[in-house]
Amino acid sequence: MPSASGLSEHHRSVARSLIVQGCQLLLEHAGAVHYSQGPNRWEGISHGLLISHGQYPKHGDCSSTATWLLWNALHHAFSVRDVVNGTDWRAGYTGTIATHGKRVAHDSNIKVGDLVLYGRGWPYEHVAVALGGGKVFSHGSEAGPFKLAIDYRPDRAQVRRFI
């Protein structure tokens, strides 16, 4: 069974490390990271901001930030096509995230970089990035981003894997 990304085990490990580094960057600079649902939410990808260079987007919402993390880990690092939203890494939202990747059925299998969708059915309302240990990285408000318990809100719907 191939992985969701088609990457080898080693490359998946590297990709997940990049996700962790990216979340760390964003949390360390939370005061400079603003919540936006405008076009600038895609600046992380459109400006080519690289985790490996210590760069991070100053604007984003939940889905654009999650997509930027995976763009770094999958596309920039390993030239993986847009397996997250299916838009050639140009756009996306919870509705497209929910129709890509592979569903993780059991909580015990949740891994770093999996995306957690919240809300009552498609297209869902919010997405966060799994960090392991029952925690997620979430950028859902101007006060964020935050590291939170995966069930910090009561409407967790599904978990999907892209790495």
């Binding site: 962790v20 895609w42 015990s108």
Partner: protein
């Protein structure tokens, strides 16, 4: 949960569940977390760059 193949199990053997990957960062307390503002939605989806 039943509308798609349970494909995560096949991935599990070589990738055990991860421990807390950001243990150095304190989790936010629930009372400190404002409600999520929601996703930009399909309009945001089409507002490319």
């Amino acid at each position: 949960m039943t509308d798609e193949p349970r494909d995560d199990d096949e991935l599990a053997p070589d990738e055990p569940g991860d421990p807390d990957a950001l243990s150095g960062f304190k989790s936010a307390a629930p009372e400190d977390v404002p409600p999520d503002e929601g996703d930009a939605g399909e309009a945001g989806h089409h507002a490319v760059r």
